[in-house]
């Protein structure tokens, strides 16, 4: 496969994963804002997903509709869902012959949908949840089409690498931001609703109830989001899938590149798998999360160097 094509597929997949993550987070945050006795601040969301200046964040932090439009339809915001979908679609367009026609059409339809002015208007005036749901459904359509139609060849695995790398980064980011709001404290004083909405925003609430019953404390939350093998958004699950997808790329022709990356991914996987809450308390949650994030970024850089260096 051409390096340029692999690069585009990888990014197409990262953009789609990110847009999905953003939409879910927005949906839940908005729902919470309707429930919250205090006014809900959108600052953590803006911190994870935008490079907005702190002063601006403070200015709009209580204006749900403004934040929603900024995060979904703003053309100036690099990370708005609109721009992410446009980028995903442009990437798909440049490798149209390497994705299935169905997948291309699906992305193309999503692109045409999200470019309608109606979306911004509805976010301003109507029920935002309906708007977000309609976009999430398009995203689900994409995931389904991807799984069902794409041949299990290099392209598919590069897309999975992008997907799981992005997802791991997102889960680390969400933990980082949410725990930074409580000063990375593992004490059990935080309002359980806070954790409930954190779980809901990454579709982890139901899995959580089944695994840990109802004890909504920070230790269980960390167990679920970092180490739960059955939770498709946990860090260990994402890194493990990244590793599995990467292993399919092994071939005689690229043994050097393969070895370098295989080492990095394997090391990260083991370091997460063979650590637990106790280690985490020793190192400190903040340091622990930042180390994982640093290694994920290093892996992304290594892909650029060893697999996508076509320029």
């Amino acid at each position: 496969m051409l390096s340029r094509v692999a690069y585009s597929l990888y990014w197409l997949s990262r953009y789609m994963e990110r847009s999905d993550g953003i939409l879910r987070l927005l949906r839940v945050n908005y729902a919470y804002s309707q429930d919250d006795p205090k006014q809900l601040s959108w600052r953590p969301v803006l911190r994870i997903f935008s490079d907005m200046k702190p002063a601006e964040k403070i200015k709009i932090q209580y204006q749900s509709r403004t934040v929603l439009n900024f995060m979904i339809t703003d053309k100036e915001n690099q990370n708005s869902v609109l721009n992410l979908v446009c980028n995903a679609r442009e990437n798909a367009r440049s490798v149209q012959d390497n994705v299935t026609k169905e997948l291309w059409q699906c992305l193309n339809e999503y692109y045409h949908q999200i470019r309608q002015n109606q979306i911004a208007l509805s976010l301003e005036k109507d029920d935002p949840i309906s708007v977000i749901d309609s976009l999430v459904t398009q995203g689900m359509h994409y995931y389904g089409t991807f799984e069902i139609t794409m041949a299990r060849s290099e392209g598919y695995y590069f897309m999975n690498i992008g997907k799981y790398l992005e997802r791991a980064i997102q889960s680390v980011d969400i933990l980082d931001v949410k725990f930074s709001e409580v000063d990375y404290s593992l004490e059990e004083t935080t309002d359980p609703t806070y954790w409930k909405f954190l779980l809901l925003s990454i579709s982890g609430y139901e899995v959580f109830l089944k695994s840990y019953r109802s004890a909504l404390d920070s230790t269980n939350i960390l167990n679920q989001i970092i180490w739960n093998d059955n939770f498709p958004r946990s860090i260990i699950y994402s890194v493990n899938r990244l590793q599995k997808s990467f292993e399919t790329l092994k071939s005689d022709k690229n043994s050097e590149s393969y070895k370098a990356l295989s080492f990095m991914i394997g090391k990260l996987e083991s370091s997460i798998r063979y650590s637990d809450i106790k280690d985490l308390q020793e190192i400190g949650l903040k340091q622990y999360l930042h180390k994982i994030k640093k290694e994920l970024f290093a892996i992304a850089d290594a892909f650029n160097l060893y697999y996508f260096a076509f320029k």
Binding site: L2, R93, S94, F158, K253
Partner: protein, 484 residues
């Protein structure tokens, strides 16, 4: 409104050949489809039109116009009423094009080697050497199987008496074939069963024929040559066509930056290292192919490509240098070429053409400018031309000035009344001018042309310019048996 009214209001012009209606009645090949259309209400037709638009949009059969940093998606306008050609008309066009291409291909072989046609004074020497598309780099370069014009699009028009003429030869990187294929796919969706009922000849095997021809050019004799399609990239207006053809043939779509030349061999950069490339179907113009040989600023090509080509380590399709044969000034000599190389009478006629270089011809053109079209010899896409009957006096004066600066760069033709065909526009059938671009594939053993081609339509009322860059659209084109 019922649909019989839709047809009764159809205006006919005695000076124009209409494909569906003769002055007295409906022409034979259109009778069946007309009967079918009559059963539909205007509402139903509008719905079908809307469906076609939606299908094009969702399938991304679009080209992007970039303005103020934002892309706007446009569809190439499609008219739902098919254009019909009978089998006997087609046989005539087909043999005519094949004859023409044989001569043009011999001409290119000759002009880049012995130049007998110049020595025999059939074509003036200065006309060739003054042509910007004549490439000295191609001189004495042996091209595989002596084929230069692997893929061509010959533009055919029909005058008021129904005679077919060749308007233009496109021998460099003709585009439009993906629209021919897509238009047929759309017709299948909007008019279910209509194609088999009319025994329309299929066009679907075009990609397979092309693939077979490309594979036969591989310099390495292996069973699975590496064929790639070279595109200028996603910003090119024909990008949709490039990716469609690559997909339909199952070949890799590459950009210049994906390729590298090492030791006169071309490789592509893959996730598993470099992989040798055997055949390049390029949609990049000659001057951008290789910065070492041509335009040094080109980012679209590959440095060293021409040296690999010269050594015979890679095949390039179409061959570079074809522009000398489809130059509008060379066009004038194609009938002479047919006689010279094949000793045959030309089957398809040329439109009478005047050389603006020639003082007496130029005077004739200027004196009769209201009946003339003046065109640049090296331009395409409907750019750089003036239609005498439609231009203002001021425009004509300006244009004459430009012509006088370098008359070699211009030719003139009498305004041909392109034939018209009914189009469904604003809920009514209205006549619009059309042409036809069949796509010919010059293979190792034979020239193959899928039946039909792309019918282009000038959608503006009264307009004679069918180019998509000038607001043209297209129709599905059917070749059917004479007697249904």
């Amino acid at each position: 409104m019922n649909s019989t009214e839709l047809f009764s209001a159809y205006p006919t012009d005695s000076k124009v050949w209409d494909e569906m209606f003769s002055p007295t009645e409906v022409r034979e090949p259109y009778k069946r489809i007309l009967q079918f259309l009559k059963q539909l209400s205007a509402d139903e037709l509008t719905k079908k039109e809307e469906m076609a638009r939606r299908l094009f949009m969702s399938q991304g059969v679009t080209f992007t116009v970039y303005s103020s940093g934002e892309g706007i998606e446009k569809i190439f306008p499609f008219d739902i009423i098919p254009r019909i050609i009978t089998a006997s008309e087609w046989a005539y066009i087909e043999t005519g094009i094949k004859q023409r291409l044989k001569a043009l291909n011999l001409f290119l072989n000759d002009i880049y080697s012995n130049q007998f046609i110049l020595k025999d004074k059939i074509i003036p020497i200065d006309m060739i050497y003054s042509c910007e598309h004549y490439l000295r780099e191609m001189h004495n370069l042996k091209v595989p199987h002596n084929i230069f014009v692997h893929i061509s699009g010959i533009d055919i028009i029909r005058d008021s008496d129904g005679t077919f003429y060749v308007l233009e030869d496109n021998l460099r990187t003709p585009s439009g074939v993906s629209y021919m294929l897509e238009n047929r796919e759309i017709t299948k969706r909007i008019f279910p069963d209509l194609l088999p009922q009319n025994f329309v000849k299929p066009v679907i095997n075009y990609p397979q024929i092309l693939y077979k021809n490309l594979a036969a050019l591989s310099p390495r004799h292996n069973s699975n040559p590496n064929i790639v399609m070279l595109t200028p990239g996603i910003f090119n207006s024909a990008y949709f066509e490039h990716s469609t053809l690559a997909r339909l043939m199952g070949i890799e779509l590459v950009e210049g930056r994906d390729l590298v030349v090492d030791n006169h061999r071309v490789f592509m950069k893959t996730t598993k290292g470099l992989q040798r490339v055997d055949v390049i179907y390029r949609r990049v113009d000659d001057e951008f192919l290789d910065p070492l040989a041509f335009n040094t600023d080109s980012m679209l090509g590959v440095a060293g490509l021409m040296s690999a080509y010269r050594k015979g380590h890679v095949a390039i399709v179409n061959a570079p240098g074809n522009g000398v044969a489809d130059d509008k000034a060379t066009y004038i000599y194609v009938p002479d070429m047919i006689k010279y190389y094949l000793n045959e009478e030309p089957i398809l006629k040329n439109v009478p053409t005047y050389k603006m270089e020639d003082a007496s011809e130029r005077e004739h053109v200027f004196n009769n400018i209201e009946n003339m079209v003046i065109k640049k010899t090296n331009a395409s896409g409907g750019y750089g031309m003036i239609i005498g009957s439609a231009a203002t006096e001021q425009e004509i004066i300006e244009y004459k000035k430009v012509v006088m600066e370098d008359p070699r760069k211009f030719i003139a033709q009498p305004i041909i009344n392109l034939s018209s065909a009914p189009c469904y526009i604003n809920g009514k059938l209205q006549p619009r001018r059309i042409d036809l671009r069949p796509f010919a594939l010059f293979g190792n053993n034979e020239i193959e042309i899928v039946p039909g081609g792309l019918t282009r339509v000038a959608l503006k009322e009264g307009s004679l310019v069918v180019n998509s860059s000038q607001g043209g659209g297209s129709k599905d084109t059917w070749v059917i048996n004479d007697k249904i």
